[in-house]
Subunit: 153 residues, 2 copies
Amino acid sequence: MALRKRPPPRQTSAPMIQLGILNRRLGYFARRLQVWIFQDFIRRLASVDLSPAQFSVLVVIGANAGLSQAELSATLGIERARLVRMLHRLERRGLTQRLPSSADARRHALRLTREGGRLLARAKRLSDEHEAGLIERFGSKRYRILIEALREF
Amino acid sequence: MALRKRPPPRQTSAPMIQLGILNRRLGYFARRLQVWIFQDFIRRLASVDLSPAQFSVLVVIGANAGLSQAELSATLGIERARLVRMLHRLERRGLTQRLPSSADARRHALRLTREGGRLLARAKRLSDEHEAGLIERFGSKRYRILIEALREF
DNA sequence: TATTGTTATACTCTATAACTATA
DNA sequence: TATAGTTATAGAGTATAACAATA
């Protein structure tokens, strides 16, 4: 159920490799799609040096200033423990801040720095181009069907 | 662009966490789908103790007896280096074999052992149930649209 | 008692580079 | 020279458990 990066070599002399039952496994194709998209995303956002996960963290902080790490963790499905390291990095890069929460001393209120906001704006523009590439590749009709089916899931 | 395991808590008192632009990113939803499917797959195949990647390796070897590690690697997008370890494990479990290739002394001809074939048969049955669960969850019409769109990709 | 952020550990996966033996 | 399989390493991601501070 792992990924096939490229179609297998279809040389006339070499025997074609069969996928067998994987051809009827949605998980196999979902994985292929996800890896392909992430690779494209990483390439397109190379100039801002953000991974898909880092991008998602900045987007959610940007859209929910003051949220806690636990909320961010639950929203994106990133382990609380893992978030700590990620936020350290983003903070070292001057993109995010952890401020004391006024209501609850255990919490941190997360927000973007001004520089974080600026970088995120650039990243969003690049991710728009990435998405436009996907739309073109799928065809806009199939793209819409796909994203709507997955969104409801 | 990471995963949200469950919808965020929609308590009336707590502010709803917004996904922002992630709502318009196919990669975000593709990742969610893939992780969800893999988690279900792992749960369903717990009794045969096969990961999605191990399952895919057994399926492709089963459908292409005698193929080489390089061919398997290219088909599934698993690094040649990584395959070595995976095949060691499967071999230690008595599921696969690496036989000398008659034509080319550099190659190994991969095949399932009888036990590997039996385990794969059981695993395929479990994966059928997993797939049936997906079809039910999506609805068979939407499932078909999805898998056909992804297969063509 | 439960939750938040944190540290630590072990395992998996990915990405490389380099080595050997063969072609 | 190039290819197949292998070894080794570093980085990222995942899954846990445990801890201190706070609720």
